[in-house]
């Protein structure tokens, strides 16, 4: 089949969605199809630019190329998934979140602060409600994303999980004396919450953070807090690490901490499971909760320093229990049939 993957990109920014799109293209090619990406640039501010970009996507014609039919379009991101096609399948990574659950989020909310914000929010919601159902089938990244789509747009969909990049290269090492928290550093991933938790732990727990800050200010804020709380010998900032180093750090950690705010999906949970490590997450973390079974494959804490500290202390003191939870997490991953072969089969059926 000739397949186009329609997605939106912000020039000069490469994140999880871009990697997923590339992996999907490679998986389709491996299954014997001709697959290409169509990446439409997207700028979400000022709000009036959003309807412009929605219209631009509606104006594109991906039905055929040089007289040859394009058999399928797979739409991933807003507003690219609005592109019309008679054989479109949507695999929704996320809707435009600040028009939905992040509308009044104190840090992330942006439309809410603009005069035309409410009108644009309504335009986005209406387009999603009316145009997403044009697709032949609607899959999402996770149960979390499906839940939002149903709650806000009244549209049913099926979650379709995908494996992290190079899933087969993760391995289990021996548990070391540190918790591992790999993630971009920003307020939504909540590195700051973990730092506050360390301060109230009974045990002298250590945490190694890896990943790039979205902007230098957020990193500086974290570093300052560590200094103020006198935790410098308990915290390590590794910055950007190679994929190999990252797998090493997973493999040899005691456990993985991943307490973001309402994550869509979160490869980190899956990578921890592939490395046979328990995951500490929070009750409001979204995606990770689809995988972490409290007290079986990790611990689900409340999003407070005290509750998180309790979970960290528990794993720090009972290493055998931590190891058993890690093994259970790995077994659970295998049971879930998370594979590109499965993704390709679903998206093309």
């Amino acid at each position: 089949m000739k397949i186009l993957i329609a997605t939106s990109t912000v020039p000069f920014i490469r994140g999880g969605a871009e990697i997923l799109a590339d992996n999907l293209r490679d998986a389709l090619a491996a299954a014997g199809h001709e697959a290409e990406l169509v990446s439409i640039p997207f700028k979400h501010y000022p709000p009036d630019r959003i309807p412009d970009h929605m219209l631009a996507c509606r104006l594109l014609d991906l039905t055929e190329t040089c007289g040859v039919r394009i058999d399928r379009v797979i739409g991933l991101k807003f507003p690219a998934y609005l592109v019309p096609h008679p054989n479109k399948v949507i695999w929704l990574l996320h809707q435009h979140r600040t028009a939905y659950e992040l509308w009044d989020h104190p840090a992330a909310g942006d439309l809410i602060h603009c005069a035309t914000g409410p009108v644009v929010r309504e335009a986005i919601r209406q387009a999603d409600r009316e145009l997403i159902p044009e697709a032949k089938a609607i899959y999402t990244l996770s149960r979390n994303v499906s839940g939002r789509l149903c709650r806000y747009s009244g549209i049913d969909s099926e979650p379709l999980y995908n494996p992290p990049s190079n899933a087969s290269l993760f391995y289990k090492g021996s548990p070391g004396d540190y918790f591992f928290f790999p993630s971009r550093i920003n307020s939504v991933k909540r590195q700051w919450l973990v730092i506050r938790a360390i301060a109230v732990c009974r045990e002298r727990v250590r945490v190694r953070f890896a990943g790039e800050p979205d902007n230098p200010a957020q990193q500086a804020e974290c570093v300052n807090t560590v200094r103020e709380l006198k935790l410098s010998d308990r915290v390590e900032w590794l910055g950007v690490v190679s994929e190999e180093q990252k797998r090493d750090l997973y493999a040899n950690s005691l456990a993985v901490i991943f307490p973001p705010v309402d994550e869509d999906y979160g490869y980190i949970t899956l990578e921890a499971m592939l490395s046979s490590k328990p995951v500490i997450t929070c009750a409001d973390s979204g995606g990770p909760l689809e995988f972490v079974v409290d007290r079986e494959t990790g611990l689900v804490a409340d999003p407070s320093p005290e509750s998180l500290a309790q979970a960290m202390d528990a794993l720090w003191t009972d290493r055998r229990c931590a190891a058993a939870m890690g093994d259970a997490g790995c077994a659970r991953y295998q049971d879930l049939n998370i594979s590109w072969a499965n993704v390709v089969e679903k998206l093309l059926c």
Binding site: E34, V38, P41, K43, L55, L59, L60
Partner: protein, 354 residues
Amino acid sequence: MAQSRGLRILIATVRVPFVNGGAELHAEGLRRALADAGHQAEIVAMPFKWYPPERILDQMLACRLLDLSETVGVPVDRLIALKFPAYLIPHPRKVIWVLHQHRQAYDLWRNPLDDLSSYAHGADVRTAIHRADTELIPQARHVFANSQNVARRLKTYCGVDAAPLYHPPPDAGRFYTRPAEDFLYFPSRINPLKRQELVLEALPQTRLPVRVCFSGPADGSVFERKCTELASQSGFANRVQSLGAVSDEEKRDLYARSLGVLFPPVDEDYGYVTLEAMLAHKPVITCRDSGGPLEFVAHRETGLVAEPKPEALAAAMDELWEDRERAAQWGAAGRQRYDDLRISWSYVTERLLQ
């Protein structure tokens, strides 16, 4: 002027899904050259479908609706736009390097190979394209063209001045030469505008047993079938070899071992084939109406310029076939000419960012 991480530059172009041609290589070559010069450069490729004609207007509008002025609060320092309709994307610091306009609305209007004029609304769409080009191209800070040929069309049809700016073919440094063997080489996408058909019609009219080797993927299967039929009908199947898509290594090897290169397209904008032949020390046979190649091929010095007719092309093919020594001399002269022209990416980036 250059900051520590260079400029943030977007290259705006157009991509026809599942077709990989010179334009894609061009955008990628430019991206790499800008990165080599210390800039951050990315390609924005808009999908494009030109039929039915109304769709062209939709896609022109889509391009006008995009906002590439900045990303996440950081300005995009320069937009370098290459193809219609992507060069219509607005930007306060835009430079247009026109690869070509929408040729069916210009030089290919009413050409038998064209389809725009055959539609009911074709004329209206053509007018809209002319207006958009005439009014919006001059919004750019600077306008360059891929070749003299493209600059001339832009001036003739839209009254817009553009400076020709040549660039090297991909992997220019990896071409080499070998002693000539018994075949003329025609590398190109199989497409009516490249006129493989004309070469097949010329073959039966040669005096000598000239052999031709074609390579390149087919843009549409209909024309490919026609070429295959023609090759077998004329009973010259043993003198024609069609390799389909070949790797870059194979292509360079075929150039190196050929006696000469055939490249007789219809009013080509630029044409890497000419330059690649020159890099491989081979003479080029082209046609009087081939456009771009004529900026490089000096008749009876670095190749032959024939009338676009089977008989004339056949005579040119015979001439190279017969006098191998002269063919080799013209090939060497072509290489010399390439070197004299100083076609390089570093010069291109310098001009585009001036």
